[in-house]
C-alpha cells in the first residue's frame, strides 16, 4: 500500500487542506510577480491555474515549492507551516513538481531518472535516524526500486525503462519528469505547463495521465495555457493577473468572468481591434 494513493476524501471543507497559501507575495525589485495570493487545495483536488503570460503563475508555483525567495506570506502543507524551510524542504515534505521546460537527466535512462525521485520516496517511507553513515546515502544501491517499478507502470513507461532519456521524444520526456515527481511520493503535485511544446498526440497522452492521477486521488495544481484542456480537466480554476487572484471557482464561471476575459482571453483587445 503506497503512501501517495490517498483515497478521495469526500467533503473538502471538513478535511485539512493539502495546501494553504496565505497572502503570498514575491517581489523582484519593483516587479510584483505575485502579490498577496491566498487559496487552498483540498485533498485529491485538481486546481487549474490560468492567467496571461507574466501573470505570476510560474512564480506562484516556484514560491509554493520554495524555489524562490518569498517577500511575505505563509504556507501550510497538511496543516504544517513550511514557508521557512530550505529549498529542498518542500520536496521532502511532499510537494512534487515539474518544470515549464522539461528538466530530466538526458544522459541517464528512464529508470535512473525515476530512481532519483524514488530515493526521496524511499526515505520518506522508511525514515532513518540521523547517523554519520547517512552522509553516504545509506549505502544501499537500489533503495525504492519497488517504487520505481510501480511508477513506471502507473505512467506507462515500462517499455522504455532502460532507454536513455536523450533518445525519447519530448512528450515522453515530460512523462518521465512527471514519473520522477510521482516517485517522491508527493502529497501535492505541481505541473507547470505540462502540455507546452507538444504535438497533439503527445498532449492527449499527458492530459490523460493528469486525469488518471486525479482519478487516483492525488492533489494537483496545474498551470496551463490550453484553456480548452484546463476547463475540461480541472473542477476548479484560479485566474491570476499581475500577481493577484482575479477570479476563482468553477471553470465555466471563471472563464466567463469579465476580468478574466479582459486580462487573459483578450476579448476587449479583440473588440478594440
Amino acid at each position: 500500500m503506497s503512501v501517495d494513493q490517498v483515497p478521495v476524501q469526500a467533503p473538502a471543507e471538513t478535511a485539512v487542506p493539502v495546501l494553504r497559501v496565505d497572502d503570498l507575495a514575491v517581489h523582484y525589485g519593483g516587479i510584483k510577480a505575485v502579490d498577496g495570493v491566498s487559496f487552498e487545495v483540498a485533498p485529491g483536488e485538481l486546481v487549474g491555474l490560468i492567467g496571461p503570460n507574466g501573470s505570476g503563475k510560474s512564480t506562484l508555483l516556484a514560491a509554493v515549492s520554495r524555489l524562490t525567495t518569498l517577500t511575505r506570506g505563509a504556507l501550510w502543507l497538511d496543516g504544517g507551516r513550511y514557508e521557512s524551510v530550505q529549498p529542498c524542504g518542500p520536496a521532502r515534505l511532499g510537494i512534487g513538481r515539474t518544470f515549464q521546460t522539461v528538466r530530466v537527466l538526458e544522459e541517464q535512462t528512464v529508470r535512473q531518472n525515476i530512481q532519483l525521485g524514488a530515493d526521496l520516496g524511499a526515505r520518506k517511507a522508511a525514515p532513518t535516524t540521523s547517523s554519520p553513515l547517512r552522509l553516504f546515502g545509506g549505502l544501499r544501491r537500489k533503495g525504492g526500486s519497488d517504487t520505481v517499478d510501480e511508477v513506471l507502470e502507473r505512467t506507462g513507461l515500462q517499455d522504455v525503462a532502460s532507454v536513455l532519456v536523450d533518445e525519447l521524444p519530448y512528450g515522453l520526456r515530460r512523462r518521465v519528469e512527471i514519473a520522477r515527481a510521482l516517485a517522491t511520493r508527493p502529497r501535492l503535485l505541481l505541473l507547470d505547463e505540462p502540455l507546452a511544446g507538444m504535438t497533439s498526440e503527445e498532449r492527449a497522452d499527458v492530459a490523460a495521465l493528469v486525469r488518471q492521477l486525479h482519478g487516483e486521488g492525488l492533489a494537483q495544481i496545474l498551470v496551463e495555457h490550453d484553456v480548452d484542456f484546463i476547463v475540461k480537466t480541472c473542477p476548479r480554476l484560479i485566474a491570476l493577473d499581475q500577481g493577484k487572484v482575479i477570479a476563482e471557482g468553477a471553470p465555466a464561471d471563471v472563464v466567463a468572468d469579465d476580468r478574466v476575459r479582459t486580462a487573459y482571453l483578450g476579448v476587449d483587445d479583440d473588440d478594440a481591434a
Binding site: F99, T101, G137, S162, E167, P169, M198
Partner: protein
C-alpha cells in the same frame, strides 16, 4: 624486468603519482557536485607547510601531523566554502585561484618560518611509496561510497541540474559543504604526504605548475569519477618516462596537445573514452529509436517538438 626491480626504479614516480592523484581528487570531489573550486591546491599548500613546520621543529610526530592536517584543512575548507556560499561558477574558480596565489605569496614571504622563496628543507622523511599508495586506496574507498548509491545519484544530478535536484529533495547546500570538507581534507592529506616523502616544500607547491597539473589530471582523466582521476594521475606521472626521447619543451607541447585533443573530443576524459569503448564492445542500450509506448508521433513532428524546446 621483475616487479621488485620495477618498483625500485619507479618508487619516486609512485609517490609523485599518489600525491598527484590525491591533489586532483581534492578538485574532483567539488567538481562532482558542480562546483568549480581550485581551493584544494591551497589546502595542499597549507597541509605541506603546516606539517613541515611542526615536524621540522619536532612539535608533534609525523603521523599525528598528518591526521591534524586532514582534520584542520577539512574544517578550514568547510569554513571557506561556507563563507563563499553565494559565489558560483567561474567567479568561484577565480576566488579560489586568488586564494591559492595568496598562499603562494605568504609562503614566499614567510621568513624563517616557511623558508621564504627557497622553501623549507630537511624535514625528516617518514613516508615512502606504500604509505602513499595506502592513503590513495583509502581515498578511493571513500570516493566509491561518495559516488555510489543514493549519494552518487544525488551528486550526479546536482552536477547536471541543481533546480531538478532540489525538486527531488536533494540538499544542494549540504552536498556542497560536504564536498568542500572532503576537498580540504584530501588536499591537506596530499600536502602532508608531499612534505613527509620529499622532505621539502617550496612556494612552487602552490604555484601555476601544480595548478596546471591538478587541472590536467582531472580533465584528461575524467571528472566524473575517481577512476578518471586515477587514469589521469597515472598518465601524467608516467608520461614523462614514456616520452624520454623528447626534449623537455617538446614533452610540454605533447602534453598540451593531449589536453586540447581530449578537451575537444572527449569532455569526459580518458575514462569517458574507455567507457564508450566498453559500451560499444558490449553493444549497449543506446538505441536509435525507442520502442513505442502509446502511439509515437511521426518523426518529423518529433523533430519539431524537440526544436520548440
Amino acid at each position: 624486468m621483475t616487479l621488485s626491480s620495477w618498483y625500485a626504479g619507479n618508487e619516486t614516480t609512485i609517490i609523485t603519482f599518489g600525491i598527484t592523484f590525491l591533489l586532483a581528487m581534492s578538485m574532483q570531489v567539488t567538481m562532482r557536485v558542480g562546483v568549480l573550486s581550485l581551493a584544494g591546491l591551497g589546502f595542499y599548500a597549507v597541509g605541506s607547510y603546516a606539517t613541515g613546520i611542526v615536524v621540522l621543529r619536532d612539535i608533534i610526530p609525523a603521523p599525528v601531523a598528518i591526521l591534524a592536517s586532514i582534520v584542520v584543512c577539512g574544517l578550514l575548507s568547510l569554513a571557506f566554502g561556507l563563507a563563499l556560499h553565494r559565489v558560483r561558477g567561474l567567479y568561484l574558480a577565480m576566488v579560489t585561484l586568488g586564494f591559492v596565489l595568496i598562499l603562494g605569496v605568504i609562503a614566499a614571504n614567510g621568513g624563517t618560518l616557511t623558508g621564504g622563496a627557497n622553501g623549507m628543507y630537511g624535514v625528516p622523511i617518514t613516508i615512502s611509496a606504500p604509505e602513499v599508495v595506502l592513503a590513495s586506496l583509502v581515498v578511493i574507498a571513500a570516493a566509491c561510497l561518495w559516488e555510489r548509491g543514493r549519494a552518487g545519484r544525488a551528486t550526479n544530478a546536482l552536477r547536471t541540474d541543481q533546480l531538478l535536484s532540489t525538486s527531488v529533495g536533494i540538499d544542494a547546500r549540504r552536498m556542497r559543504n560536504i564536498s568542500f570538507l572532503l576537498s580540504g581534507a584530501i588536499g591537506g592529506l596530499a600536502g602532508s604526504l608531499n612534505v613527509l616523502s620529499f622532505g621539502a616544500v617550496s612556494p612552487s607547491d602552490a604555484g601555476f605548475a601544480m595548478l596546471t597539473t591538478m587541472i590536467t589530471v582531472v580533465i584528461v582523466g575524467g571528472q566524473r569519477s575517481w577512476a578518471g582521476v586515477l587514469l589521469g594521475a597515472i598518465l601524467i606521472s608516467w608520461l614523462p618516462t614514456w616520452l624520454v626521447w623528447f626534449e623537455g619543451a617538446t614533452r610540454e607541447i605533447i602534453l598540451g596537445l593531449l589536453i586540447v585533443v581530449l578537451g575537444m573530443f572527449a569532455p569526459d576524459g580518458l575514462l569517458g573514452v574507455f567507457s564508450w569503448l566498453f559500451g560499444r564492445l558490449r553493444g549497449i542500450r543506446r538505441r536509435s529509436v525507442p520502442p513505442p509506448v502509446a502511439e509515437p508521433p511521426p518523426a518529423r513532428q518529433l523533430e519539431e517538438s524537440s526544436r520548440v524546446r
